[in-house]
Each structure stands twice: as structure tokens, then as C-alpha cells.
Amino acid sequence: MKDRIIPEFLRKYWINYLWGAIFLFLGVYIATLSPKYLGTIIDLLKAPIIDKGQVFNYIGLIILTALGVFATRYVWRYFIMGNARNMECFLRMEMLRHLQKMSVNFYNARKTGDLMAFAVNDIGAVRMSFGPGVALILNGLGTSLLSVFSMVRIVHPKLTVFAMLPIPIIIFVMIRMGTTIRNRFRLVQKNFASISDRINENISGIRVTKTYVQEDDEVSRFDILNNQMKQSNLDLIRVSSLMGPLIQLFFGICFMINLIYGSSLVKAHEITLGDFVAFNGYLTMIMWPVISIGRIINVFQRGMASYRRLEEIFSVKPEILDGAASNPEEEQEKLEGSLEIRNLSFAYPGHSEYALKDINIKLEKGQILGIIGRTGSGKTTLVNLLLKLYNVEPGKILIDGRDINDYSLKTLRENIGYVPQDNFLFSATIQDNIRYFSDQFSDDEIEDASKISMIYDNIMEFPARFDTRVGERGVNLSGGQKQRISIARAVIKKPAIYILDDALSAVDTQTEEAILNNLKEEMEGHTGIIIAHRISALRHADEIIVLDHGRIEERGSHEELIKKDGLYHELFREQYGIETRESWEDEE
């Protein structure tokens, strides 16, 4: 339904273009009167006895046409350009809405930069087509048609034909040269982008550069790009500098033809001196639309390419939808949190091998499940499915005994407190990051959540405390601090199910212990899933499953698993060395 988003907009607002076009043509018509009036004045002045009253009339008319052009121009610009601005904002809003419905899978396949380009460049280019582009075409067509018409009708048909002879050549040259210019311009842009990338890379790696004293080498590497940039710019200039003078030259021929042939017509009394002057005026009027041909082609080429890209992106259907049997209105808001996974196998879209195979888990309300395994064993995949970031076959995952697909996404996700692996924070205040921009939490709740996640003391040390901004324009937080804020964000929801996806990896072991102890209390009566690389993070788990290549390789309590001498034992040995085994067991 959303795939024809621009036509939909145009259907709604086409009337603006109609009004715009009407006023534009009106304006053009008024403008073409002006040279004729000036010509008439010349003729009046040339007469042996000057009719002053008539001259005054025409002076008045010239002023009126100028005012008319001004007024109509204001109106049509408002309709056409304003409509395009409206379209721009409309598209950007729709883009956001659309992006918000897209699945993780969609984002995995695309770079942030590319998606940004849709929202910024492509929408901008479409606006240029539907605003200035449309205006240039209408104005150009109107002006040249009416001017030529006036030349033929008012002045002299044959003179018109002769004087216009060079114009097809100009148009041909402009179109040919336009292509070359566009290609060279693209090269300039490409070089510009690689310079940006180069600097970006350099700044990210500045420590390494400094450590290995690579500064001079970096400058030489930069020089290569820098000189390419210069060269491509000069190549572009070499062609583009021809454009203006060539147009001048060809129009010069037009004016020369009028000068020679037109004058002879005046002398032969076929046309008046005023006609001759008016003709010059019309030629000048035609110049402008011809010059803008290059720009029109440019604007529309880019606009249409962007239009197609936008249509394509808008036509991507959301993959993950509310379950068919779900009814957000009727659902109870709080789930109990018991969880069952039955024979779950899963392969990522477009992949043949299974990321998860035959997973069976049963978790009662209040139990804590620990998941451990090497990188790529399927831990995060499992979490992605629980959050329904990918589609899940019916009957495989049940929450409170009901299929996950029978819940709305909102209810499902509202009841899960998720702490992601990558600790992403919005550039907003710490407070907003913890209560995730919703108003339903009090200051006390925010404080409590931050105490549980052991970030409270850090926050109190910041100048603006909870109102401290994070990110680009605010304080820089360490990885561990970000993780703890992410934990607070999950805790504040008091969700039915906690999911911690390697959420303590960047905090030191002591803080980890403190947080885990706090969480144990907090999770009393809630279901929990803790994924970790470090065995130490799983100490409170009722059951631990060991994932390997998407299968549950081993399961049981810590003690049971240690005795098995399998993968878990191996992981344990790697992390602690065999000799610490006793101290661990002592503590348990």
C-alpha cells in the first residue's frame, strides 16, 4: 500500500501544481508583453509628433507588467516550490515510519550510510525534481513558446526563422556537453568521498599512527588522493568553462542575424524600429530557458534515479508483523513469563545451514537460564527469535503457554527486558536513555534502576547527573558504563522476562559480581536468560545450556556440567585454569 508513495502524494496535492501552472503561464504571458510595449514606445518616440498621452500609457503598462510578473511569480513559486517542500517533509516522515517497521534482517543487509542517503540525498533530489525542476520546465516551455509566438506574430516570421537557426545547435551542444560535465562531476564527488573516508579512517586510527610514527607516511598517502581531487576538479572545469562562453557565442550569432537582417527589414519598412527592438527583447527572453536545459536534465536525471530508489525502499514489506491471532486491545498487559521452546530449528533468511537446531527449553516463571557457548554458536540467534526480530514458525516458542505469534509485537517486547550485546545509547540525557523516552517512570524508579545496575555512583559524579547528555555532544562513557545504563533500561521495566546478552562483558569482575547479586534479587519471581562468555556471569543460573553449532550440547547445573568433562569443562579450564576449580566450588 505504501509502495506508490509519491503518486499517492501527488494525487492528494495535484491541485497545487495546477494552480502553480496557471499562475506561471499567466506570469509568462505578462512578461512577453513587455518587449512589445517597449517597442511601441520606441515607435511612438520616433514619430515626428510624439503622442505624449500614449507614451505615458505604455510606460504605465510596462510598470504594470513588472508588478504582474512579480505577483504571479510569488504565487506560482508558493504553489510549486512550496508543494515540493511539503513533499520533502512528507516523504521524510513516511521514511521514518517505514524504517521503523523494517526488521533486523533488513538492516543487516544495508549500511547505515546507504539508508541515510535515502533519507537525505534521495528525498532532496526528488524535491528538486518536483519543485525547481517542474518550475524550470514549465517556465522554460512557456517563455520560449510565447516568445517565439510573439516574434512570429508581432514582428516577422522569416526574421524569426533566421535568427533562431543557431538555437538547435546550442541545444545539441548543451546536451552533449552536459553529459560530459555530469560524468566529470561524478568523479569529483567520488574523489571527495574518498578523501572523507581517508580522513575518517586516519582519525579512527590516529593512535596506531602515532604509536608507529606513521604520520609522514599518512600524509604521503593522503597526498595521492588530494592530487587526484585537484586533477578531477580541473578536468571538470576544462569542460564546464566552455559552456557559458559557447552559449554566449551562439546567441551572439542570433543577435547578429537580427542586427543585420532585422535592420535591413527596418530600412525596407517591413518592420518598424520598435519591432526591431522588441525582437531583441524576445531573443533575450529565450536565452534563459535554453541555458537552463542543462540544469533541467541534471535535476531530472538525479530526481528520477532517486525516485526509483525511494520507490524500491518503500516497496519493501515489513517482514515481522503482529501475529494474526493477536489483538493488542484485548491482551493482558503483563505476562507471567513462563517460556517454552519446542524443537526449534532456524536458518537465517538466505542461508541454508541452520543457526539453531532442535532447541528444547522449558523455563518456569522465576527461573534463570544460563546460556554459554563459543562465538557463532547461536546464542544471539536464540535471543533474536525470542524478541521476534525474525519470524518464528508457529508452535515453536510459547510464552505463558501461548504461541509467540499470537501476541502483538508490542505486548511481546514490552514484557521482555533486553540488554543487548552492543551497548547503543541515544544522544540524549542519561535519564532519557534509561526510561527510553517514555513518561511512565518516576525519578525514583530511574534512580533505583541505576543503583541496581551499579551506574548510580558514576552518574552522580557527572556535572548534570541524570540530565547529563551522552554521545557526540555530551560526555563520553566507557563501554562498561554504557552497558550498565543498558541494564538499567531493562531493569526499570520490571519485565516478565529478562534477557542479558553478554551484557557484562565490559565491566570488571567485581562490578559484575555486584550487578549479578543485585539482579538476582530484582529477578526474584521473574524469568531470566543470561548469555555470557564468562562462566562467572552464570553463577545464579538454575540451569545452564551449552550451545555449540546451534545445538544444545550439554545442559545442567554448574556442578553437573563441570563433572561431565565436556565442552563446559573445557571452557571452564580455559578461563580459570584447572587449579582455581576448587575455589569456585568452595564458594558455591
Binding site: 517597449l38 512550496g82 582519525i203 559557447l246 524478541l387 547503543f424 570488571d508
Partner: protein, 574 residues
């Protein structure tokens, strides 16, 4: 300040004064041709069309036509030459400036770099410099051209007919007034739109990056509302811009027409009493039209100058931070250091008054391995930052081989120290480039480095082995693999001091084992400092420092610290 940076920029054009002068000469000639064109018309009308003077040779309608075309041809040629020449100058200056900015960034110390976001630095070297290129290519010559054209028109008009000229000029003050008022509004609007665009882009970038969270935490509606506010503001601002644009240019046209009307009205009386030729009046209407073109143009250049001034200020603000630049030339040349390290009562703060290290003293003998252990934010990473002189200590001193590191030539100091950070950075290029880093190195040396660092196993599996390209900062390699490559890099460059910030997360245990082995190999025969997170790493250290809140609270080896029964022994009890 503002004019200052603009003047300094213009000074960069001085070496090119000959070309610039030549360009100005071209512009002058083109201007003259431009000014002469209406006079040809005037001649044709007055001498041949109204009067009936005899046509002889070039003094004829055809002759005038040919002169007219020749003038245009010559001025077109001159224009092409001039545009190319001036762009050559502009591009040379800008390329040079871009290089200066880039080199400058290379020399900036981390303490200053930390304060800049990478986006800002990129903007300085790209967009800001680009904005300046227009200053050289367009503004300088165009200003000259417009001013001379204007002066030329005024002179010709005055010499043709003083009274008519003065009447034509009466509208100028009105135009100046209107332009001034609208330009002021446009500037405010321009700034508003720029800031809104930045915020909209930022909003999208952030929400795309964090979309998973937005969805998981059901923030869609809130984010939409947040954006709606931004979007509406932007729409309003862009409409204002539209309206201002609709008024500015056309209003000049109106005054243009008014001027012509005035001329005709006044000229009429004089034509009646034969004191004015009709051709002159017609030429005047042409000059009046030409008169407003340079004014229009000057007004348009105003924007370019405006943004050039902003960019120039920003570029010079960066380039002016000369005091803090790292100095690679002075200092004691040391060659290869032995590698003993001593901190003597070191105090350090990133921000004034917030001490991160408080009175830290310790000594590491050459060849020893030292582990630094402590909570996040305790200051352990800071210690390793200081050794490479990435930051300056405020109190106390750091000695390597008994020499204060501030006295050692910076280049030599850093060549002797290899730092591997948690998140390993790889340059785009090949794996080989990343190991040799432009230093000439034999194949054996590279191979040896790979073997010792245990990186050879995974490199053997790559299709192009050592020449496998590294794309997007090594994102195709796992964190563990990147770390192994960093170790290979270290071994290949054979520093006397090896500094490691041990990675904490997301390394699978198999690679983890390789890393442990690799660290052992790298640290052999080198003074090694590790910010450690693994007990196994710590246990192998000759000396362990426990850092709490910027102070060393315990030091010793594993055994002595276990006996001590302090923080370290508790840590081990986990």
C-alpha cells in the same frame, strides 16, 4: 578575528599574483566588450535606421554585425582562458590547504583530538576547505569583474548623457535598502535551516543505528513524535526561505523597470526638442538592465563569502592550535631503548582538577612483564596512555632508561613502544601493509612475526593470504583475529616496550588461547605492560599492580599478593 582569517587566506594567493593579474586583465577586456555591445546597437539605430548616413566598409550595418560577433568571440575565448587559469590557482591553494590541515591533524596530541569529534575534523578538511575553494575561484575574480563592470557602466552612462544617467541612478538606494533588509532575514533563515538539517540527519543516523532498540523497547511512537516536531520546524523554515527568495530577485526587477520608465518619461521631452537621440535612450535601457546584473551577482556572492568566512574561521581555529602540536624533531635521540620504566610521583588529569592518577610511583625493570589490575575507571588505561606521551603528566615524571620521557625525541620514544588497544585498528590496504606499515621488511621477517603471533593459521586460510585486502577497517576479521594481527605488527617492529590493553569481550575461547600464547611470545625479551582482565594473564606477570581510584594500592607477584590477603586475593576467590 573574522577579517583576520579571511586576510590570511587571501595571502595564500600571493604567490600566484601574476596569474591573478592576467585573469584580471582578461576580465577587464571582457567587460569592455560587454559594455561596447549596446553602443553598437545605438550606432545602428541612430546612424542607419533613424538617420540615413551612408554605409562605407565596416561603417555599415553588416560591418557593425561583424564587429558585434567578433567582440563576443574574443570575449568568449578570454573567458574560457580566465576561468581555467583562476581555477588552477584556486585548486592549487585549496589542495595545499587541505594537505596542511591533514598534516596538522597528524600532529595534534590526543588530548586535543579527544575534544574534537571525528566528524568535525573531517568537515574541516573537506567541506570547509571546499567552501574556501569557491572563494578563490569565484569570489575574487567575480568581485573584481562586477565592480569594474559597474564602474564601466556608470562611466559610459555618464559620458553618454549625464542627466539620463543621474535619473537612472535614483533607484539604487531603494534597491540597496531592500536587498539589505531581505539579506539579513535570509542569513538568519539560512543558519536556522542549516542547523535543522543537521539535526534531521543526526536523528536519522542515530535511529537507523539504534533501530533494533527502538523496536525492542517500542519507542516508535515517541520517536515519531520527536521527529514530527523537527520536521515541522524544518518545513516552516524552508517556506520562509522560499518566500524570501520569491521577493528578493523579482523586486530588483521591478526597480529595474521603474528606472526604465523614468528614463523614457524624462527622455521623451528631450527627444521632442531634439536634444537626445532615440538610440541613446535605447542604449540606456540596456545599460540599466546590465547595471543590475553585477549588483545581483554581488548580492549572490554574499552567501559564498559568508560561508567562506565561517569556514575560514573554523579552519584557522584548528590550524592556530600550534602550541599543543607534537614536536617530532627536538629531544634526545635515543635509538633503541633498554626498556626500564619508572613513574615518580605522577599526577595526571584529563580535565583540570579531576585527578585520574594520584601520586603514582612504580618501577618496572627491563624485560619484565607488569600487569595492571583494577576496576573500570580506576586509571589503569591512563597509565599506559602516558608512557607513549599521548598525554602530558601534570606533576611528577616518567622515566625510561632513567631519562625523562619529555626529553626523549618523540619519534624515537614511540618507535620503542608498541601499544595494542582493545579495539584493534587496521588500515585499509592489505594484511601485509598492516604488518609492515610502510617499513621495508624481508619476507622472512614478516613470516616470523606471523608465526610468533600465532596469526599465520588464520592468514593461511585466506584466499589471498598476506595480500588479502583489509576493508572497512578490518570489519571482515573477528576481534580476536585483529588482535593477532596487531601482535604480528608489534613483533615485526620489534619495540623494546610492549603495551597491551587486554580485550574483554567477544573473543571465542579458541582464539583466546592463541592470543594467550601470542602475548607470551610478544612479551619475551620486552618490557611488557598489560592492562589485564584475565586471571591467567595476571598470574604470569612478574609484577602486579592493583589500582584503585588512581592510586596503586597493592603491588607484588601472584604469591606475595595472595599472602597479603587484600583486594587481589579477594579477586582470585571468585
Amino acid at each position: 578575528m573574522k577579517n583576520n582569517s579571511l586576510m590570511r587566506l587571501l595571502k595564500r594567493a600571493l604567490p600566484y599574483w601574476k596569474i591573478i593579474l592576467l585573469c584580471m586583465l582578461c576580465v577587464l577586456l571582457v567587460n569592455m566588450a560587454e559594455l561596447y555591445k549596446p553602443l553598437i546597437m545605438e550606432r545602428v539605430i541612430d546612424d542607419f535606421l533613424i538617420g540615413s548616413k551612408p554605409e562605407r566598409g565596416l561603417y555599415s550595418i553588416t560591418g557593425m554585425g561583424i564587429i558585434y560577433l567578433l567582440l563576443i568571440a574574443v570575449s568568449s575565448g578570454l573567458t574560457v582562458f580566465q576561468v581555467n587559469a583562476i581555477n588552477h590557482v584556486g585548486q592549487s591553494i585549496v589542495t595545499d590547504l587541505r594537505r596542511t590541515v591533514f598534516s596538522h591533524i597528524q600532529r595534534m596530541p590526543l588530548s586535543v583530538l579527544d575534544k574534537y569529534s571525528s566528524g568535525r575534523l573531517i568537515t574541516r578538511a573537506t567541506n570547509d576547505v571546499e567552501a574556501l575553494s569557491e572563494l578563490f575561484t569565484d569570489v575574487i575574480i567575480d568581485l573584481f569583474r562586477d565592480v569594474f563592470l559597474l564602474a564601466g557602466i556608470i562611466i559610459i552612462m555618464l559620458s553618454l548623457d549625464i542627466q539620463l544617467a543621474l535619473i537612472g541612478f535614483t533607484v539604487i538606494p531603494f534597491i540597496a535598502l531592500i536587498t539589505n533588509i531581505i539579506k539579513k532575514k535570509m542569513k538568519a533563515n539560512f543558519i536556522a535551516i542549516k542547523s535543522l538539517t543537521g539535526r534531521i540527519n543526526g536523528f536519522f543516523a542515530e535511529n537507523i543505528a539504534g533501530m533494533k532498540l527502538v523496536q525492542i523497547f517500542n519507542m516508535q511512537k515517541d520517536k515519531e513524535n520527536e521527529f514530527q516536531v523537527l520536521n515541522n520546524k524544518y518545513y516552516a523554515a524552508s517556506l520562509t526561505r522560499l518566500k524570501l527568495n520569491s521577493i528578493l530577485r523579482p523586486s530588483i526587477e521591478i526597480f529595474n523597470t521603474l528606472a526604465i520608465a523614468l528614463l523614457v518619461w524624462y527622455g521623451m521631452g528631450r527627444i521632442i526638442n531634439r536634444s537626445l537621440d532615440l538610440g541613446v535612450l535605447y542604449a540606456f535601457t540596456n545599460y540599466i538592465k546590465q547595471f543590475f546584473a553585477p549588483i545581483n551577482d554581488l548580492a549572490e556572492k554574499y552567501n559564498t563569502i559568508q560561508s567562506a568566512v565561517v569556514s575560514a574561521d573554523r579552519v584557522y581555529e584548528l590550524l592556530d592550535q600550534k602550541d599543543s602540536l607534537e614536536d617530532y624533531d627536538s629531544g634526545i635521540q635515543v635509538g633503541r631503548l633498554e626498556g626500564s620504566i619508572e613513574f615518580k610521583n605522577v599526577w595526571f588529569a584529563y580535565n583540570e582538577g579531576e585527578w585520574v592518577l594520584k601520586d603514582v610511583s612504580f618501577r618496572i625493570e627491563k624485560g619484565q612483564t607488569a600487569a595492571f589490575v583494577g576496576a573500570t575507571g580506576s586509571g589503569k588505561t591512563t597509565i599506559i596512555n602516558l608512557i607513549s606521551r599521548f598525554y602530558q603528566v601534570q606533576k611528577g615524571e616518567i622515566l625510561i632508561d632513567g631519562i625523562n620521557i619529555n626529553d626523549i625525541n618523540l619519534r624515537d620514544l614511540r618507535r620503542n613502544i608498541s601499544v595494542v588497544l582493545q579495539d584493534v585498528f587496521l588500515y585499509s590496504g592489505s594484511i601485509r601493509d598492516n604488518i609492515t606499515l610502510n617499513t621495508p621488511m624481508s619476507e622472512e621477517e614478516v613470516q616470523r612475526a606471523l608465526e610468533l603471533s600465532c596469526a599465520d593459521t588464520f592468514i593461511q586460510e585466506l584466499p589471498n593470504k598476506l595480500d588479502e585486502p583489509v576493508s572497512e577497517r578490518g570489519s571482515t576479521f573477528s576481534a580476536g583475529q585483529r588482535q593477532l594481527l596487531a601482535f604480528a605488527r608489534t613483533i615485526a617492529h620489534d619495540p623494546s616496550i610492549f603495551v597491551l590493553d587486554e580485550a574483554t569481550a567477544n573473543i571465542d575461547t579458541k582464539t583466546e588461547k592463541l592470543i594467550q600464547k601470542s602475548i607470551e611470545n610478544v612479551s619475551t625479551g620486552r618490557t611488557t605492560l598489560i592492562v589485564a582482565h584475565r586471571l591467567s594473564t595476571i598470574r604470569h606477570a612478574d609484577v602486579i599492580f592493583i589500582i584503585r581510584k588512581g592510586r596503586i594500592v597493592e603491588k607484588g607477584n601472584h604469591e606475595t599478593l595472595m599472602e597479603l590477603g587484600g583486594y587481589y586475593s579477594r579477586l582470585n576467590a571468585v
